[in-house]
Symmetry: C2
Subunit: 314 residues, 2 copies
């Protein structure tokens, strides 16, 4: 096969996932192996290099076709220097990932944090194809985000842009404390954690809900109960959607994106979530911010990290 290829690395605490993407952002091959973080960062970096070489060898492409290697890593990253300042799930501090991988692979390497990379993946090869200005919200344990303007990741002064989970939208009288120390962040309500908390609170108060029959309440159990018509669960999902939409309205007047992409486990709640998000968003922005603007689910799921990492070398 001819043409340039782009390699992406999704460096997780348990597994390293590597993929080859075409110049169009299509994921062509993947390779996965253990991280082995307990052996220290040099061993992990050796393993990444080994997996990258392996996937090219196993493919129909040659090393000369590789335009570069990108890696997405959960943690604080000095983007200018390509250094991981702190990655708690790997127990890394001050690891010069870019330099170390470039020495091992003799090819350009770029790194960025996992949320930014996932947004770039959706922009390049997922729900944002062809859109230049978009904002991704990832609703998981927390609420993460990534911003793409003119096809590029917005990083901010200290690489801290797109901390969208910490937009404060819950009114003071209803607000609870967020992990960040602030009160009323959208993450406290619109994350899986927030949904489980609201469900546990409702059951604890003795509200009439099918959730009370469950031993363990998960976000998925709340979505399932909502789909089956459980009023308490419907209220909780709508509340998560409501505050997410308020945060999106704030982002809209700041950046005027063409598309919002909603991913992460909570997005699997489906129409009940998206219908409410679209309704509340529209009520909270002037009309010009709804014309031609859409709100769609993410498409790439867990592959967004590999695709976006590959896209760092575009």
């Amino acid at each position: 096969m001819s043409g340039k290829i782009y390699i992406g690395v999704d460096l997780g605490g348990t597994n390293i996932k590597v993929g080859i993407c075409s110049a169009e952002g299509n994921l062509l091959h993947t390779y996965e192996g253990p991280t082995g973080a307990e052996e220290g960062h040099q061993a992990v970096l050796d393993r990444i290099a080994q997996y990258v070489k392996q996937i090219v060898t196993d493919s129909s492409y040659t090393w000369d076709q590789v335009a570069g290697v990108g890696a997405g890593i959960a943690g604080f990253i000095d983007l200018a220097e390509g250094v991981v300042l702190a990655a708690p799930n790997l127990k890394w501090e001050n690891v010069a990932v870019r330099r170390e991988l470039e020495e091992r692979l003799n090819i350009p390497v770029a790194i960025n944090n996992d949320a930014n990379v996932a947004a770039l993946g959706e922009a390049w090869g997922g729900a944002g194809r062809g859109v230049q200005h978009l904002v991704c919200f990832t609703l998981g344990t927390g609420v993460g985000g990534g911003i793409i303007i003119g096809g590029k990741i917005v990083e901010g002064f200290r690489g801290m842009a797109a901390e969208l989970g910490h937009i404060k939208v819950v009114p003071d009288l209803e607000a609870i404390q967020c992990g960040c120390g602030q009160m009323g962040c959208v993450e406290t309500v619109s994350s899986a954690t927030g949904i489980v908390r609201m469900a546990q609170d409702a059951v604890g108060r003795g509200e009439v809900t099918t959730l009370s029959e469950l031993e363990t309440i998960t976000a998925k159990a709340v979505f399932d109960a909502a789909k089956d018509g459980d009023e308490v669960s419907i209220r909780i999902v709508k509340r998560a959607a409501h505050y997410l939409a308020k945060a999106m309205a704030a982002v809209a007047v700041v950046l005027n994106p063409q598309r919002f992409i909603i991913g992460g486990g909570v997005a699997r709640a489906g129409d009940i979530l998206f219908d409410e998000i679209r309704k509340v968003y529209k009520l909270n922005v002037p009309p010009v911010f709804t014309e031609g603007v859409d709100i769609v689910p993410a498409q790439l799921g867990n592959d967004a990290g590999i695709v976006g990492a590959a896209g760092l070398n575009l």
Copy 2:
């Protein structure tokens, strides 16, 4: 004199201001004349071309040194096409300003809206010199804004980015309707209009304040009374600062700018305003968004528009 020069045009409803800037963003010469909007857009465009030629002729520079001409215009602009879609204060609709001026001047022309251009002016030659990521709030009749990332204006999908006055920060129970149709926009409180309204309300309620002695309450009168210790005026200025800081906190977690620049007539309230903004901002963001981040007054005043317009051709 040698080196490239950049010409900026601030096209107002009454006057056209033209300036020559150095490559370092220093305003070297200015020229001002009437807009004559009542004669129609062709006459106004002729006049702009005439003023631009005049200022170069009057200077020690030659036409060959002109890198380009930029214009800032209050209105809705199709940035890709360089067309003013609507400029109410000029009574313009669908005027192809870029093409018309390029035909008259035979030189590259760029246009943008007045708020974006003012932000670029501060970034290039004012309070944002040397800073790559900054956000400007202009507190005037309304609350306007401009966002510079990587030294460039953020325009958004429909050129509607940085409508910062319409970030909704006032709690529902205290919110009033904004001109945009939404409730609780920061513009309803932190603009000169908002300050005058709050002062009129206080006087109307019979609160004890020196403002009640005035025939006409202006924002400046409220600042002056606040500086003289009038408790009602101090409360009003602090309220304007409080909600502005909340809007800035939302912008901070979205974009992580290094600097916020506050301009417009309300910024002349000085320390009483800025001290409260800095205090409330710090209370409303995680610490990483305050480290190395500063909040400063604009420096260029009304010249920001000329300098930023000139900077469109950088």
